[in-house]
Amino acid sequence: MSDPYSDIDQMSVRTVIESALRRLNRATAANTLRKQLPRSYQIPLEELKKHLDELVRAGAIHKWQPDQTIYYAAFDPEAAARRQMLAAMAGRRLSARELAVKVKGLPGYSKTQKYVKEHLKPVLATGQAFLHPPAGREKIARYAIEPPPPGPYLTKIVKEIQAVGLKLNQPLETVYQALRPMLGLSFPKPLQPPPPETGTLVRSHQEPERLILAGMVKIEPKARQRALVSLRDLRRSVDLSKEQFDKTVLDLARTGKVVLHYHDYPSSLSETEREELVRDSLGTYYIGIVLGEGHESS
């Protein structure tokens, strides 16, 4: 008797397998998969496995083997697990065990935490999620999309610092002042209120200038020491129309109160990105602004 499956085109078998796996949307063992195929495509298990291996080799489907059983999936198990874990972490801090349970469609995933740790490595390395080491009474590490807030890790140190204040009979402010340079932090100058106007009314064009100069220091305290400030960030922080903002920035540059840094390859930016920069009449796009020499205290 001739093989009833011999007339089935090999390619169409594979297409049917791929389609079934996509429909199932979970990692599936070969014998389970066989039952899900249309009757005329329910080829012997060994033959099905050969096709599955061939599809894996071609990169069309993926293999998942948490234990003895081999499962097959239309999706990349590692990427899928990572995606689900990131979604689960939205607004929550979860332990490896809790994360393992959140991963669906991959049999055996929740039995061990080893996959969670392995799959999270690139996510942690690229800053898409963060490890929260145990703090206070917590005994286990957790993972979250937000970086760990330092507060809970500083409780002990805060007590020690308070004790130093008490011991030296000094206000905490003094201890704090001494601590900052020891930690390598500089003191940002407090933002000065605008200078009182003498006599006459403020001329209208001075207001946007003042807003921009004060805005620079507000978003970048080191601007007073002539650090570069992003015009994109500055625009977002100052309540001025685009026309008014651009005009004021260019006026400030013309009078030497600020220096502008241009973008070398604006064509590499999208139209939206270019819109956020400042463009002069000659078509130069500016990306950064810095206080001019002698105007540091503006």
Partner: protein, 649 residues
Amino acid sequence: MNPLSALDNPFRQNIVADAWRPAEVDVPEIHREAFETCDRAYELVKSGRMSRSVFLHGPAGSGKTHLLGRLQKHLTQTRDDLLPCIFVSVRLQTSPRMIWRHVRRRFAEDLLRPVADGATQIQHLIAGRLAGMDTKKRSTSNWLQWVRAQPVRKTEKFEHNLDQLARGAGLDHELFQVLKNVLLDRHRNDARNWLMGDNLTESSRKELGLSEQPPGDLDQETLAQEVILNLCRLAGPGRPVVLCFDQIEALQSHPEDRDGLFRFGQVGATLFNSTDNLLLISCIQSALMDNLKSAIRDADYDRITQEAKVLNPLTYDQAVRLAACRLEAEPILKKLRAEHPDSPTWPLETEEIKTLFQSRPCPARKVIAACDTLFEQARGRQVPKIDDQTFIEKEFQRLREAALKQTPPDETDENLTHALPLLAEMIEPTLLPSAASSGVDLLVGRSSRTVGLVLANHRNMTSLAARLRRLEEKPPDLGLSRLVLIRDSRLPIKRTAKVTRERLAGLQAKGLRLVQPSIQVLAALKALRTILSEAKSGDLANAGVSIGPKTVQEWLAANLDESLRVFFEDLVGSTTVASEKDTDLLQDIAEELEEHFILPLADLDRNLGHDSLERIEDAVRRHPDRFGLLAGPPSVLFLYAPPDLSSGD
């Protein structure tokens, strides 16, 4: 005759490529503020025993590298035989995945670099540390003489002192052993190569007094990080290590790439947190400021930008001053200029310089390039203008020729890791994220086919055998359509490495493909990544005007080196290469020719113990990029070297 005709054009140099080769003429007023900030931070590190950081922004061509050169010159001046700091300059032309290894290589190169008095930085460092430990209070100068003495004059006492020093600084055993070799001038090349992070052969390791196999299966990035931190610790308190990062932009494989900048932030923060004698100076183009801020963690950003300074475009007055200083530096020109006291930039028209400032702010490089043209015009010559396409073509050729001479096999891993994603992006932008944890170094995808690339450029056969064993025991389970092992064709697997050969043959039988890129391919890859890195960093300039990476990428895509296209197709293409049946024979031929360079065919056949001259001849003819054959009689084989390699000494 025009009196200027015989003079060198003082504006010819408009790019400072390296902090160790600063511009001959420097105008200290320009970027004085940024320089003083760096100097102040340096003093704080020195006196405060804590690490500091300075971040420098500026447009392309504003003089960031020039400023680093000024700083290098200022800080590495010896005073009373004492080198006050260790200066290291790193251009980040590498893959983000190899950033620590790249820094280690540059760190080692600079440590072994002689400073003004001819002694290397490492000799100064050791002399200073020994003087600090000396109970008899002999000066650093005395110790430096001892350190620099010929090996025969060094005594057991010297080794004893080094032992004490290593213990005091808590040095890693291997690093200490290697430094001892460096200082005693023993096995100089091997010691240097170890410091740079190269994979050494068993015999080289033995010569250095190390175990034949590198310890454990350590992650190379972690290992490199440890060596760097050890070296910073060795410099000790009171002697700052000034570490400058330049061309950070080159870490991005494309404009939206955040990974490179993120990793840079991590590296900077780790260095800052783990040391107490480091001055970290980072330079970046103003245009990248927004990307950098959004790509790296706030905590990392704070650590690497304790001080932030800008290098502004020049003012008109600064441009005139710059032009005048360059002109004055030429003695004959200085004499001629004395006859024109009313013109500050004679023989250049000052008004012409003024026109540069009519359109937009003008960085130093553009001023110098314009003066270059004006000077040529002043002596009656025209400077031919070349378009950007021709400029890129010439530059690519130059870089490729330089790479043919200077691309050792030890750099192959870095070369491939950095260049392959760029090449893939150009040919087919389908490169998937790396999967280093799964035993594969890179993944390259083409529609539904994903190819896993394994880099296996080990010199140490035991290490290579171990890597192959891991592949055998735990093949990468990534649903790959193919696994490709890349090994530099200049690294034959020797006949004595039987286990390695057996494992390789076993893996090949299971479908692994071995690809052995020739020096021509590797040189083209190096040229490709260098020119793109230069463009991203704003350092590829035609007549003072930077050429953007997009233009370079388009030119490269349109004029892609044929050898690169073939190589890429070899990696990801669906065709099967037939030459793999002769892998062992090719390795044998390469091994023999590496040793003898040139051999009669009959002699080679005898040495190999084969009985088929035809097979050898056939294998050689199929690899003209690796071997040459002179028909004879007698037929002679030689190791092929590209023309530019063989034209040297």
